[in-house]
Structure formats: structure tokens, C-alpha cells
Symmetry: D3
């Protein structure tokens, strides 16, 4: 699949791809449950960040992350993981610590994997984070997109939902990217819990509709298009079958008509048999080629599905042996981004 | 040492001792440093809580804790540890989770032990916690101190500094305890970082001076009496020598004169040779017996000193094999409380 | 399912449920085999105990355990786990240690999980335990069932088989419970190895027939009813199919006729595909409602089946993240006990 | 030091050295305490066995062990460790399992290391073991010492105290060894807890006095010579100083006079500063050369002292990296045995 | 199945079975991937060695290994594992270390297990090993096969491919074995990467054809017979179905005709569904009985398939709890060797 | 201390510092010994590399490494660690894998820490590595030092001793660095085992004398100056006392006279009390300021001394929590390099 996306020349740009989003410390009790754990393995993650990390470690692209961290030991642990992820850390916005975590914190994500009939559960401890308070003026956007040069920017609906500020920051950063010819992808990723206190579904749609006309590659499942962008589709439930895929396709056509700027629209279709076994497929549409479907993989053995709802790009899981190993998740947009 | 403390009869009281304070999840990178860790061992801790936990597990007293937790997986992990600590969990104030940690969180404490010339460092991630928002009316104080009965209440300056609310809550709970004849101990534990945003040293002294007339057993090092209560003592630095102990004694006499309600005043005196070796001693004064000194232990091998600045009662460390093992910390107030 | 069981009022009783049984230290080599292991993860377990632990941690009931432990470090480790289990430890009968384990020991249970075609195996090291020597007079039965009050007592055929003494103790405790109106459940759990040296199948039937007229809720698989109680049923093998379930139902009807005091009779039906995959179902009969069947779950992913033969109540596994996680074991008696 | 010991020619003997004793499974909670542990590292150990294991792994001698194990998974785990120890397992007396541990068990030894001011503690769970029931006729002594050939036999007072039977077995095995010209060493190792139920100190002396005339190399500290053999020495306490060493020397002279068959008498002298720091020295006397003293090592860093009281030959610790590593324990008898 | 193999009497032979081959240190990142691992679990392995280790630990035969190791810490770690494997280490050829690994090294094998759709991958770091340089004159072959006596020798195409020297050594050792009446089995195990630099497929066939007339029991899959010995068979791919098994059978008949000295020819047939699920079967032909097929096991749960391509005898995996546990791999030659 | 070193302007240079050297995988058995280990923790290390890693992670400089790795899973694991170290990986020379390790390997370093009287030991498995075969033409030296720009190059006597090729490569790279104005530091680090097979001490001196006139900052202990460069000093042994420090100073003056191009000469002075306790000091001379001594630290607690003999810059140990934590190693050249 080759989308008709025009990218800036590589030699003009320091970055092949930047992510705008939160990077949290993931705490994983391994075979155990959070509520009875005695130790946690840790690493980093974030819906938008994971996509660019995968592009760096799996495909060798030059990447970086636009985010903020509190300048304390936990913040530097997250930085240590971003270095391991191969991403440039020089754009991180470091915020002074108050020693207590009242004014600004680093985001934490406790998640257990589930096993068999027991599903994954977790605690998202990401209130009052430094990144949720990050303003456009904390980033030198003209320097980054103008002087340094960025071929692709990836962000999404999780970052936009972190706070009222982060919605405004998302819009400003995407505008700056477009100003300098950077391709922009956006993962709708509608999360009711994040939006609840800052305006709910109505405000989510308002923000996403303001962003949508600036987006080149739009990613989301059918729920996302409904809740986050306001399109309606009938007869589709969470686990898409082939029939449902067809119905989803008709919705995508409506979306494409409403936002002619979208060059690619993509989604994954996941059927959850148990925490240890999922069916998996993906579908993408591009202005150039119409619909493309991935190979359908039924009864895929699952090691850890974390991130399945966060982002479409955790390619790094199965390629780098992180705990996501075992999942072969290649969303339809992957090949597009490889074309970068 | 036998202080002239009059305790309520044991058979009238469901609790030998209650703590009022925060219970945090401690995250320990074991032999490694936080900023390069890949896993954390966890357990619970809190300056006020640790004292009553030690009374339960080392001495068999019936204890409980007045605290609040968010009703999510991390909150229930802390509850799991409190159960292991043998304390009654029925007085915990459970607060609904918003799924994100904006409205209320559970406190976290990342701390590494240090080794040799490298000292212990950590991140206290305790802003916006449920317990910092706990109000007197969240606790049925008349039922607890009146109907159920409590022989001893322990709280301190860390809890009082969590927020403007917690200072008010501390005062209200101590007043309720005194109303029903409960003995009250208080550990001054002055922490500038906690007070900074809510009035600083001046507000700390205001709160502590309001509480002091209600306290039976007052605990603190010389810095605490100076910063948290406003007494001045000359020529004393952090690591008290015997000479300094004499000077500290003279300050205690001033304190005892100012607050004749204090039945016992106690402190530890720690000399830090390295993260792995400390000198340790303790001194206590009681209205009944005057001064008593503990055995002086020089060049004590240290496994993990966490809590050394938090509380005076982590006796459970060396008695129960928790990572504090190796420290023999028996503050002077220990024998007093044993007398309960 | 609502059985016609009349329970004592909750506010008259300190305990919603007590278990009478052994609490062993389980030693688990995790992914490895016992005979080549280099470390063991440990926790506690016991056929009767597990039921009440689940009632406490999953459903919040107030529970305790009637058992005995040797007063040494291993005994206190078991106590540490019982505290974590949320059960009252004040009824534990502590027995003096001889320093060697000749006169009395604590029970140990080394068990490996199995994987695929390799089944679980283990070593039950429970001879000469303190609990096998526990006499009725070691427990203040009138105080416990009379003064303190107990709504439900759970015990079973494993405890009764620990020694000739334990059979007599089981009878005496059940009699005391009935005297004060406590509902009694009993899990037949026939174990030939335990009975072998103390009278075999004949003695097992003798003991169980003495107990049966006192039991309100009787649990057992078809083998248990045959071996432990002496009922015969034809054409039923270990892995019950639906057809076999019907045949089991006809046996239950015979059992109900023979012991009209049984208000509920229940069992699980497990089909072992491999150590990692089981079919699972359950069936219960009550005097009030006749037969009820659980949802049938085929090809359930298994993490650790330990306890599958021990007891019907290890609900805590999948609810608390212990190594049993992954099994969704809800025997038919569960809903009954929830009704407590 | 060269003792005037005449050994059988190596090419006539299949074994350079055999141990007669118990091999237990040691369970070690590593940095934690037994009573709050969640996992144990395991390996094997035994006062008499350790000596011959060291001779095999450090000095390359051909060794084996006369012992008994129950034929279950734990017994085979101990066998797995004996194989790793390089000792011949063909002489092990395998006893059938009853599935429960009533008739015969394998010995277990839970021990924590201690740290700083907290000393090592443990639970010796060795009642009713197979080896304590081992009879001379379970071993084909004429075949072992006659046909196969053994140059050196090592046993001691721990094995002799396991039961009334084991005392008789020890005597019979030592007699068989002497009959075929095998040199015999014996470590007195007096343990009151082991003897308590089978005749106490009086019976210990009776057994040891029956064995002593058959022993070539006698090992023990001053307490051992007093309690286990009935010699008296004044003014010597547990931690021998140089002065005390002189007094110990005079006792040895008395011992040598009483038992002219002793070719070598040896002991270690340990001063315990803390669980993490010991002073260490050793002294030996031989008929040929009189007294020899080892280098004195003060303030030796201790990793794990287990076995310090058990046996004199745990050389394998510091040579093989087992948890005893860090201790350089070379008792005076070492060079003697090397001369084998 | 009883092959018409005539074995030397057991009482004339010190060894029931010897392996000639490399013993490598296996490094396993457990649940993780090599390229992102932070720790490795280690043990030993080798295609030829594993067969004899299994014979010792599963069936109790007296075994040893003809191999070479560098005399450094890693070499002694491998020796430690061989001792645990129960094999005689006295025939190991110890080679002096140059401190750097230029002149001779010990072989290492980093392998990750794979999970689900991600296959196993690894790094074989076995260049310049001591064993690849081992010459016939480094072994006292007349003493080993003549004086000591060996009933069975197992070697194979991996050892023969280690270097030009090892091919010559393999031939010389097999000749010596035959000279003294030892039965010889050989696993073809064709590895292109090993042969590439020393003559490729042509040289492999040359070596194997020189060895074949001396072999009693020949093992190999269809690819092995084709590549390593030069037989052609049509229409057979890697995962043999029943149909293909028939075709394989016809090839075996050709092989048996070409080498009438083969008493047994055997292979396994593995179908890889995913890294976690394999179909497994085996087929064997003997001169005495014709064809025998094992039970076919479909969708076998796989824990770790390492060695699946290395050797036909890793029986020790599922019997001893090593990470191969879960695989029930009983090649047809197993029963034959049991008949020894 | 401010040395009169003229550095290229930072904004002309992409790299503040480059290392030329090998990066090995370190395998650490943690508390155990290599020869009895069952697992290894891993990370990366190398005498020259460690210096630049420290400059990046402790002081924030922009660094990279000139090295070669085989393109297999182990090579990518080393790359994963270099990323975590924050160094640019784009200059790594990737060499094709032959699948076996005959033509080129990645270097491995098994090292155990030692404890108390047991010293650290290890196995350096670095023969036939890709980096030992790296030629100047494998690196685009004019592009690196000319176009990209490098302010400081650090290399040393370990890299130069890897092979005859690496000595030639070291000379060529240093010449290229000097051609473009890059400051060059060199750590003599004489290792007899590395030089033994490629000309010994005589060849080492030849190589070092060819390099010395190009070096700005020369590092080495007194043994290094003697063995690696041919200077003689009397009366100095391995553990320098203050007196010896004076004698070392007089040797440095001779060295400075012989090589007037040296702007700084520096060394550490380590006294080994035990594996767990060292005395530590450092001394430096600069043309500008004469001699400077570090603070002397006696009886420093040691966690892991690995690298102590390798390089002078493992600052990252105690700053980043790697296992070297606990050592505060700030050689005199540190402040110089900070001045960069």
C-alpha cells in the first residue's frame, strides 16, 4: 500500500518521526496480580510514544519525543528507557520537582496482563503530570519543525485528553507541524475516563474536530470514530467480524468524504477469546488505493496485550523482546509509515 | 523507664494503639539505583503507621490505622500489606477512583538504599493523595474513640503537613482522642518540602503549637524541636555526640517547662559514617524519671535506613526481616509504649 | 440458588466463617521441577482453610481458622500468610518447638504445576504436625461457638484423615458448632494416602458416617461419595461428561434421601485435557431448589491447579492474583456461601 | 603438618573418602527473614557430608556418602545436589515414601544468615528422617569397606545424635571401617537439642566414649570436648582468645593422654563480632608434630556462616561460590586430609 | 521394539554409554529476547551429550562424555553442570587457558524460546573451542574402550562438523569403539552453517559416508538423509504428515539397503504450528522388526524447543524439569537404548 | 585543575568525546561464583568505552564509540546497552555473522565480584572479536574527525593489545584525530595476557612509544608506566602509600620530560584491604599546574570493583546505579575532562 503522502526530504530533516505524547513508567507484576504483588518489573510506554519507538528500533528511523518529565529520579528512569528506545531525549521538557508531587508528577501505569478468563486490569496514575501541563511555548516549535526539520509527527487522542491545556497544546503543535510540511498522523484513542472531568464526549469531539482537518493519517477503531469524532455506524460491536469489517468500511467512506484531507484511515480489529488468546486483523483505506486488509490471525497466543488500546504502533513488542513479545501487531498504517 | 501515663483499661478498648497517618507504597530497586532500575520490590510504609505496625508484629498489641486510600488496585495492594502487618483495616476510608489519579491518588515512595559513600535518595510521590484530603467527618471519631475504645494514638508532623486539610484533621482527631482519655504521642518530623507550599516553617510551628498542649509523648530530634516547634539550641549539628547530647538535654528541659503536659520527650541520635555504617543512640526524658539513655551502638551495619527520618518506631525492620533488618532501632519511647 | 439454611444473626457473631483444618507452607518451584529446583516461591494453603480465606478476601466476610502451629520461624511464616489472608490468628493453637521436629512439626507441601503433557506432582510432608495432634480440649469450643459466635464452620475429610486424633477432633468441633446453631459444611476429599495407616477406606467411611448427620452442606466429587461415604454409582469415571453428570445427579438423590439433613450437595466436574488446559463445570443440589448447573467452561487455560483436589473454595486464586490465577473456579456451593 | 596416619593405597580403594551422615535440604531466604519470606533459595548440607563434598570439589578426591533418603521428589532434589557435589550416589539407601511423611521424611533446614546485630536463626526440621532410622544392615558394610575399599571415613556427633538407632549405626559403621584399615575422623559437634529426647548429655558422652577409642582424627571445640566427651577445662568461653587458646591446648594434652589412639586433634576458634564480621583462627595437635596454629584472621567479612557449627570442613564454601563464599575456613585438619 | 544389537556384558564395562561431542553453556533469557535481555539463566547442552545425560538421569545408566574444555571458570561451570547431569567427568580433556580466548574457548549457545508467532532464535558462539581442536591422541582410546569398557557410543554430525579436525577425530573414535565391540549410534544432524567454511555439503557427505559403514543405529530426519548422506526423496517437506511418513519410509528402505550394517534407523517428525504448539511423532525401522511408529501427539504445548534440531535424545527435558519440560520427546531409538 | 588543552569549539563538532575500543558483554553471577552459577546479570563494558559513557550519563556530553560488533543477537544486545548509555551507535562497524563464531565474535567478560578474603575472578572471552579485526579503512576517519568533528578522543592500551591489527588501527585513528585538532587521551592499562601472543612486553612498549608522542593526556598506574612504556621506578609496589605517591611523582616528572607533549599525566592509587574494602586515592600532574591530589578515601566499601583495572573513567558506576555503585571513583583527569 502506497499512500499519496508527500514527505519532506530526509536530508533536510533531523528527525524522521517525532511523537507528541506522555511517556509513563509501566509497572508490571509479571505472573501475579497488582493487589497481591511483591515486586514489579518496569519499563516505559505511552500511546503516541510507542509508535515512534517502534519506528526507531524496528525500522531504524531517527526519532524523538515531545514530552515533559519532572526532574527527579523517576523522571530520569523514564529518560533511561527512552535512551534504550533509541529516541532523542534533547527535546524533553524538564520540570523542576517540588519534592512531593503536588505541582507536577511523572505518569505511572500499573497494569497486570491477565491470564485465560481473567482479563488485564490496571491503575493509570497520571493526574497532575508535567506533560499534562506542557504548553506550546514550552517547546520551540519553529526551531523544531523549521530549523531541525521533522518528516512525520504522530500524536493522538490520549495526549489531547490529558488536560484542557494538553488539548490546546496538541492543536498548536499540529498546526506548527503542518506549517513546515510535516506529515501528521493521529490516533483517536477515545478514553472516557480521561475526558470525564474536562468536558466529556462533547469536548472530545470538539477538540478532535478542530484537529481533524490538519491530519493526514487518521487511526481509530469504530468506537473511536463514533465517540471521538461523532460518526455513527450501525450494527458494529467491539469485536469486528468480516461482516462488520464491511460495515466499518462504509463508515470509513463517510469519514473520508467528510475530511478529504485524510490520505489514510486505518484500524485494527481485535476479537478477545481470552486474555491469552485473541483474533487479530486490520484494515486500512487510502485515497490512492482504497481498502487493504491485513492477514487475519485467529487464536493468536498473547503474552501481554498492554498497549492494545493505547496505540497502533507497539511494533517494538515482538521485535525487541519486551513483554509484549509474542504479539505480531502490524497495523495497516505500519507499511504506510515504513514508506516514510 | 516508666512514665506516669494513665492508660484506659485494655478490656474497655478494641485497640491498644491506632496510627493516624499516610500509608504509602514503598518501591525499592534493591541493589540498584532508581534511575537505572528495571524492577522494584514493594512494601508499605509511613512515619506514623510504622510505629503501630511494629507494636503489633513485635509486641503483639492490637492495632489499627486511620487513613484513606483510593479504591483501585494500588490501594488494595497497600491494604494487602496492612493486613500482613496485622493491623485492622476496617477504619480505612476508601475513596472512589476517577480512573486517572486527578481527584485522588495513593501515595508512592521510591527510595534506594545507598551503599558506602553513595547516600540514599528517593522520590516522594504523594501529592493529591486521598489521605491528604481526609476530613474529620470522614471518620466517626466518637464511635472510634468512644464506643470501640483506643488506648494510645500515634500521629505526627508528616501527616499534619500533607495539606492544609490534614493539619486540621490532625487537630480534630487528637482532640477526639483526648476527649475519651486516649494517650497521644506525636513525632514532630519536620519536612520542609511538605510545608513549603502550605505556609512553610511559620505555619508548621502554628500547627504544632496548637497540637502540643494535647500531646502526652513528644518525639523529635533537635532539628525538629527547633524548626517544627520554635525552640532554639546552640552548637548542635545533625550528628549528635555525647557532648551534644548534653546540650540537647538542656533544650529538652526548656521544652518540658514550656509544655508541662509532656510526660515523655524522646529522640534518637544518629551519626552517619556512610550509607552502610551508622552510629546510633537514643535519649529520653520523662516527667517521672528524668533522662534515660539507650546503649550506644557505634558503626552499626546498615542494610536499609529508610524510615530513619520518617518515624521513631520501625522496630519491625529488624524483628520481622523486612529490608530494614540489621538496624536495631529501639528509640527511648519504645519501652514506654511497651508499658502500655 | 438459595438454600434453606438458617444462619445466626451477623451481629451476634464475631465470625462469619471459621475453617477447621491444616494450614501448610506450599513450596512451588515455579516453571521448574522440584527434583531439579534451585529456589521455591512459598505461600500457604490447606483444603479447608482456602475456603474461608476466599470468603474473606473475595467477599469480605469476617473469618478465622482453628488450627495448630509449632512456635518456630516456619510456624510464624505460616502465620504471616494467614494475616495476609485477612483471617483472625487469635485462635491458632501454638505448640512449643523441640528444636528438631521430632515431637511436632509444621506441614509442608512441595508441589510443581506441571505443563502440557507433564502433570503436576508433589511431596506432602505433613507427618507428625502439630495440627494432627490437636485435641478438642486445646480449643475452648464453648467460648468460640458460644461467646464469640460463628455463623458458618467449614471442615472436611483431609483434616479428619490427618491422624486418629484429628478424626475425633473433627467430630467434637462439629458437634460444638451444631450445639450453638452454626451452619456446617464438609468437603469429603477422600485421600487414600492419608487414611492408609490409620484404618484405610473402612475407617474413612466410619468417620464420615459419624459426621454426616451433622452436616448441612456436603461437598464431594463422585469418587468422594463412593470411597468416603460408601455410595455406589455406575458408569461414572473421573472426567464427568454431561451424560455422566446425569448419573451423578441420580447418586446425589440417593445421598439426599439417606441424609435428609443435607440442605445442599455440590461438586465440581473437571476434565483434564493437559496440565495447561482443563474442562470445568459444577453441579449442585439443594433441598429447596433441586439441581443447578454452573456454566460449562471448556479448554480453560490453567496456570496452577493446586488445590483442585484439596478443596472447593480456592476462589482467592483468580481473584487475588495468587499463582492459582487463571482458574475461574466457582463451585456450585460458592453462591450458597455468598448467601451467608 | 604431617600426621602419622597410615592410609590404605589409593589403587586398592574406590573411595578416597566417605561421609556417614545426614544430607538435608537447606532453605535460605537470602536477604530476608524466614518468618516474612516469600521465596527460598535451596541447596544441600550436612555436618559430616560437607567435609567430603569439600574434599571432592576443592581437592579432587573421590568421595561418596553413606546416608538414607526417602524416594520422593524432595529426596531426588537432594540427590541432584549430591551429584552436583561430585559425590557417588550409589551408596544412598532409598526408603519408600508413604506419601505423607509419617513413616519417613527427608531432613530440611531453614536458616537465615543474619545481618549486623541480628544473628542467624533457623528451623531444623529433621525429625523422623529416613537417615535417622538407617541400620547397619541397610548398608553392605563388608562390601563397601572390604570389596570397594575406603581410605578415610568421616562422621560425627550430629549423625550419632539423630536417634537411638543412629548412635548404634555410627558405632557399627566405624567398627567396620577400622576392621578394613580405613582412617576415621569424627567431629564431636555437641547439640543439646538433638540429644535432649534420647538421653541428653549423659547418653551423648556414653556414645562418644564408645566411639572415641576407634577414632584417628578427633575434631571439636572446647565446648564439644566438655559436653560431648566429658573433659573439663577452666576459664575458657565460647570466643577463644590467644590466652584461651593456650588453655585449650592444655585440655587437648589431657585428651591426647586419655585417648592415645588420636593421631590428630583439631578445632577452630571463632569470635563473633556481629553476624557480618567474625574473628577466626584454628589450632591442631598431632602426635607427630605437636601443636600447629592457622593464620589468625580478624574481622573477617561474613556472607553466611551456616555450617560454622556443623562441621569443620565446609571448604567448599569459598572455593565453589556457594553462599558460604567469603569465609576462608581452612581448619588445621585440612592439610592432614590433603595428605591423604 | 527389540533391535538385533549385541551389546558387551555390563559387568565388563565401566560405562553403559559414552557421548562424543561438545558440551556448551546455554544462555537463556527466559521470557525475554536476547537483544533486550538483562539476565540469562544458564545450563549445559550439546546434541550428542544430551542423549547420554538423558540415559543417566532418566534411566539410571552409567554414562560419561568424551569432550574438551578450557580450564577456566566457564569450563568449570560446564563441568559443574555435567556433574549435576550425573556423568563421569574424568574423561574430559582439559586445555590450558590463554586468559583471552584466542587459542581455545568454551562453546556458548545463546537461545531464546520464542512465543506464539515469534520463533526461537539464537547465537551459536562455538568457534575456536577446545573440543573442536581435540585430536584422537588427546584421548587414550584403547584404555577407554579396551580397559574400561563401553557398551554404547553416541556421536553425530554436529561434532563431526565442528572443524576439519573434529571430523577426523569422530572417525578415529568410532573406529576404536567398533574395534572393542561397542555399539555406535550416530545422529546425522546436518547444519549448513557449521560445514560452510570447511567444505560444505560435499565434505559433509564425504565424512558421513566414511562413518556410515561403522554405525549400528542411524538417526536423522529426511533432510539429514538427503543433505548429510546424499539420499534423495521426493515430495517430502519439513513437517511430515502421515502421507509423507510413508514416503520417508520408502527412503529409509533405500538407506537400509545401501548400508546393511544399520540395525536401526529412526527419526522424529515435527510439525510447527507456532513456537508454543507443535505436532510431534516419530518413526523407526529396525532390521529385526521393520517399521514402528510412536503415538502421534498433535498440538503439544511447548515450553522450550531448544535441542529439537540438535539431538534425538533430550529426554532429560521433561523428566528432570529443565526448561525443555513439557515436551515429551521419545524418539523411536529410546526403547532400543532402554533395551541396553 | 585546569590543563592548558586547546579544544575545538563545541558548535563545530558533533561529538564532545569519542571512545575507540571494545565493548564487551559483561556477565555477572551476582552474589555467586561463576563456576557454580545458574544465572548471570548482564551489561556492557570496556576500558575505553566506559570513560565516554560516564561523560555522557554523568556530565551530559555528546559521545559516541568507534568499535565493531558482529550483526547477531548478542551484538544487538550490546547495542541495546550502548543506547542506554546514551552514546551514538551510528559509528559502529557491523560485521556479518557466520552463524558459528569462527570468523568473528562479540567479546564477553564473565566476572565475579569477590567478597571479603575471596578476590574477584573472571574469564575474558574476547579472542577473534570483530573489533580486534577492525581496520582503519573500516572507519571513514576523515568524515568522522573532519566533517562531523570530535573534541576529544579516548583510547588505550587494552584496545591496542587486542591484536596486531588493533595496534595498527589505534595508531591510525589517533593520527587522524590529531590531524583535525582533536585532543587525545590514552590509558596505558598494560595487560600481559593480551600481549603475550602478539609480541609481549617488548611489542607493547614499541606500540606505546609510537603512540605516546601523539597523546595529550596520559593515564596509567606506576606498573603501566614501567611495563607499557619502559620507565623504571624504585621501591613502589602495587598499593601506593603516601610515601610511594612521592616516588611515583618523581617518575611522572621523568615521563613529562621524555614526552613534552603530555599536558596531563594521571593515575589512581588503590590499596586492596579485601574484596569488600579498598583504600583509594588519585594523583595528577599537568604542565600548567604541577601536581594535584584527590581526597584520600580509606576503607571505602566496595560493591563491585570491575573496571578498576580497566579504565580511569567508570564514573558511571556510582552515578547511575550500575553494580559499580558505591565506588566514588573520580580520577584526577575527571575535572580536566569536565573542563571540556
Amino acid at each position: 500500500m502506497t499512500a499519496d503522502l508527500t514527505l519532506r526530504p530526509a536530508d533536510e530533516c533531523r528527525y524522521d518521526a517525532l511523537a507528541l505524547g506522555e511517556v509513563m513508567l509501566r509497572l508490571d507484576p509479571e505472573d501475579f496480580r497488582i493487589r497481591t504483588a511483591r515486586s514489579f518489573r518496569v519499563w516505559e510506554g505511552g500511546g503516541e510514544y510507542n509508535v515512534v519507538r517502534g519506528l526507531r528500533r524496528v525500522f531504524g528511523l531517527r526519532g524523538g519525543v515531545l514530552t515533559a518529565l519532572v526532574d527527579n529520579e523517576v523522571g530520569h528512569l523514564v529518560e533511561d528507557f527512552i535512551l534504550t528506545g533509541g529516541l532523542d531525549t534533547s527535546l524533553i521538557n524538564w520540570v523542576e520537582s517540588d519534592g512531593i508531587g503536588r505541582t507536577a508528577r511523572n505518569g505511572l501505569n500499573f497494569t497486570e496482563r491477565g491470564f485465560g478468563v481473567r482479563g488485564a486490569v490496571g491503575v493509570s496514575d497520571r493526574g497532575h503530570t508535567a506533560v499534562s501541563q506542557m504548553k506550546p511555548e514550552d517547546l520551540d516549535l519553529d526551531h523544531i519543525f523549521g530549523d531541525l526539520g521533522v518528516r512525520w509527527l504522530h500524536t493522538g487522542g490520549i495526549f489531547a485528553a490529558l488536560s484542557e491545556q494538553s488539548a490546546r497544546t496538541a492543536i498548536a503543535v499540529v498546526q506548527a507541524a503542518k506549517k513546515y510540511g510535516t506529515v501528521v498522523s493521529y490516533d483517536l484513542n477515545y478514553r472516557p475516563s480521561l475526558w470525564k472531568a474536562i468536558g466529556g464526549r462533547a469536548r472530545a469531539q470538539e477538540v478532535n474536530r478542530e484537529l481533524a482537518p490538519l491530519i493526514d493519517v487518521m487511526i481509530g477503531n469504530e468506537q473511536d470514530f463514533t465517540d471521538a469524532l461523532g460518526f455513527e455506524v450501525e450494527g458494529v460491536d467491539e469485536n469486528l467480524t468480516n461482516l462488520e469489517a464491511d460495515m466499518f468500511a462504509s463508515m470509513i467512506e463517510k469519514v473520508a468524504a467528510a475530511y478529504p484531507n485524510f490520505r489514510v484511515i486505518a484500524t485494527t480489529m481485535r476479537g478477545v477469546r481470552s486474555a491469552s488468546s485473541n483474533d487479530w486483523g486490520a484494515i486500512a483505506w487510502s485515497a490512492a488505493d482504497g481498502f487493504v486488509k491485513s492477514a487475519q490471525r485467529d487464536a493468536l497466543e498473547i503474552f501481554d496485550r498492554v498497549g492494545g488500546g493505547d496505540s497502533g504502533g507497539h511494533v517494538h513488542g515482538h521485535e525487541e523482546g519486551s513483554p509484549e513479545a509474542g504479539r505480531r501487531r502490524r497495523r495497516a498504517r505500519r507499511p504506510v509509515i515504513i514508506d516514510v
